[in-house]
């Protein structure tokens, strides 16, 4: 971002809901099936068919509204009319001026708050493939349409133009995705299109200036693309303004390979959707009891789960950056219950978090399924010094592979036994005797030298004991010998 400029970003996120069926008909809501196998008269727009609203979709929309601190209110559905074959009936049913969720917010891990203007329900479109010489949209000879996705329930979440950097926009998309997954509303798979992000971007010289003319960027298929596209687009707009010209309001397409945005259409050919109330659907009026019942079924949201872990580490909330990263990783991977269980059983919170974020996280799928009792038992062994860190990590890998088991038996099978204090002391003494120079420098007053030699001597002890010695115990013994 060029100095002297500020970007203003708002994001529109489309999220496919995890229902068994589509929004207005009983066709399966499944990704990746054979084309046109999950279709019926309603989602094919055949004459005489009538839409009936899916209760589960409504409840997931309400869950999203609740998680985003929105007001959940009476809503209606409209027909958005446009001529394009991705909807067989030539209109999309969407909520227009009376959406189900309004006026919420999402708090990001860095403490900033992004306003949510609305989160409304609508149906997804079919999937068009543009065939022809180039295989791309421009120059396609004809298109092929698969209506399996047509009618899949979506919630579109529209943020306020509250973001000021690509990093903040990425953090918002990441946090929103985690929230959608945690609330059970979506699987959050950007690569399968179940979460799609469009970005509205403008630039201005000062935060006191009014908003500049914005462009909308589509085709952002990952959080990384989102960040790149925003940076590119802001630079493009700044260059235009600096040459004395004006940004034209338009929709632009992000080309991931080329690393740039290209124009799709300008405001002049904006669609005239002729919205009108969908006469085949009646208003949706959730009462307080229903809204509370939905909220009661929801698990904790990521922000609350992160602060629960931070509380374990330090009730005052003071944790290092690296621990904050570990907390984010553990919550993101859904492994926080393992840390909670370990700490509840007396394992040190720092160790429980580090093992979970650094080792268990490398195979999160297995870690989510592992028997928590086995996991806690292993960490207890390490915490008490019965296993060294290295041994514990090796046993953990076996534990994850097996889905559980007795960590003591697994450790014994590997020949891991905690060294007795006596054999550890004699191993240290032997190394010290064999390396008088190193020992001398360790005993010197030079702080840096002492640290360097401590590392070297510990390494030698580890080598001599083939990794069975506990590093911390070795350091303590060296300290004791030095006096």
């Amino acid at each position: 971002m060029k100095p002297g400029w500020e970007m203003v970003i708002g994001l529109e996120v489309h999220c496919e809901l995890r229902t068994a069926t589509k929004l207005f008909c009983g066709c399966p809501n499944l990704f990746g099936d054979e084309p046109n196998t999950n279709v019926c008269p309603v989602c094919l727009g055949l004459p005489g068919s009538l839409p009936v609203l899916n209760q589960k979709a409504v409840e997931l929309a309400m869950a999203i509204g609740t998680a985003l601190n929105c007001e959940i209110r009476p809503s209606t559905f409209h027909r958005k009319n446009y001529f394009y074959p991705d909807q067989a009936k030539d209109y999309q049913i969407s909520q227009y001026d009376e959406p189900i969720n309004v006026d919420g917010y999402l708090d990001l891990p860095d403490g900033s708050r992004v306003g949510i203007e609305r989160a409304h329900m609508e149906e997804d479109t079919g999937k068009t493939t543009h065939a022809g010489a180039s295989g791309r949209i421009h120059g396609a000879d004809y298109s092929l349409v698969d209506y399996n996705r047509s009618g899949v329930p979506l919630v579109e979440i529209v943020s306020a133009p509250d973001m000021r950097s690509s990093a903040q926009a990425r953090a918002y998309a990441t946090e929103l995705r985690a929230m959608l997954v945690a609330s059970g509303a979506s699987d959050g798979k950007m690569e399968e299109g179940s979460m799609r992000v469009d970005a509205n971007i403008s630039v201005r010289r000062s935060s006191d200036d009014p908003f500049g003319t914005r462009c909308e960027i589509k085709n952002l298929n990952s959080v990384r693309s989102l960040g790149r596209a925003i940076e590119y687009e802001a630079d493009r707009q700044i260059a235009i303004i600096e040459t004395g010209e004006s940004v034209v309001q338009q929709t632009r397409h992000w080309d991931e390979d080329a690393g740039r945005t290209q124009t799709l259409r300008s405001k002049e050919d904006a669609y005239d959707y002729r919205y009108f109330l969908e006469p085949d659907l009646v208003p949706l009026v959730p009462d307080g009891e229903w809204i509370r019942a939905v909220a009661d079924t929801m698990g904790m949201m990521p922000a609350a789960r992160r602060s629960r872990l931070v509380d374990l580490l330090d009730p005052a909330g003071e944790v290092s950056d690296s621990q904050a990263d570990q907390v984010a990783t553990v919550v993101d991977l859904g492994l926080d219950d393992l840390v909670i269980a370990a700490v509840a059983n007396g394992v040190g919170s720092g160790l429980a978090l580090a093992r979970t974020a650094n080792e268990a996280a490398t195979d999160a799928e297995a870690a989510r399924k592992v028997d928590p009792d086995s996991y806690v038992a292993l960490l207890t062994m390490e915490d008490s010094g019965a296993l060294t860190a290295t041994q514990s990590k090796t046993v953990l890998a076996d534990l994850l592979a097996a889905g559980g088991g007795d960590p003591a038996a697994l450790a014994a099978a590997k020949g891991y036994e905690a060294m007795s204090e006596d054999s550890l002391a004699s191993a240290v003494a032997e190394v010290v005797a064999a390396h008088p120079d190193a020992w001398g420098r360790y005993c010197s007053d030079d702080e840096g030298d002492r640290k360097k030699m401590a590392g070297m001597l510990t390494g030698l002890v580890m080598k001599a004991t083939r990794g069975q010695a506990d590093g911390k115990a070795v350091a303590a013994e060296l300290q004791r010998l030095r006096g």
Binding site: G26, T37, V52, N54, F83, H130, D146, Y271, R274, V282
Partner: protein, 102 residues
Amino acid sequence: MTKPAPLTRDDVAHVAALARLELTDEELDLFTGQLAEVLDHAADVAALDLSDVAPTAHAMAVTNVLRPDEVRPVLDRDEVLAAAPSVEDHRFRVPRILGEAP
């Protein structure tokens, strides 16, 4: 209530273009007159004092019509595609599209 601007021939041509309808000059004249009469009728309703009447979203005073999230039978693909004018690769083949979906 202020009366909306009268319907023009250009309005009708615009709406026809949105609906992909090709109208002759004679038809444009004909439909401009006919549609203006329909709108005049709506204007009669708009002229009434309805300040005491709550807005309604639907002719029936019914809300929350919902169905359970249960899978129902789908159509047979061969039958579905047999009704399409053109098919390729088990998909509906449609004329070339300019631009991207709205």
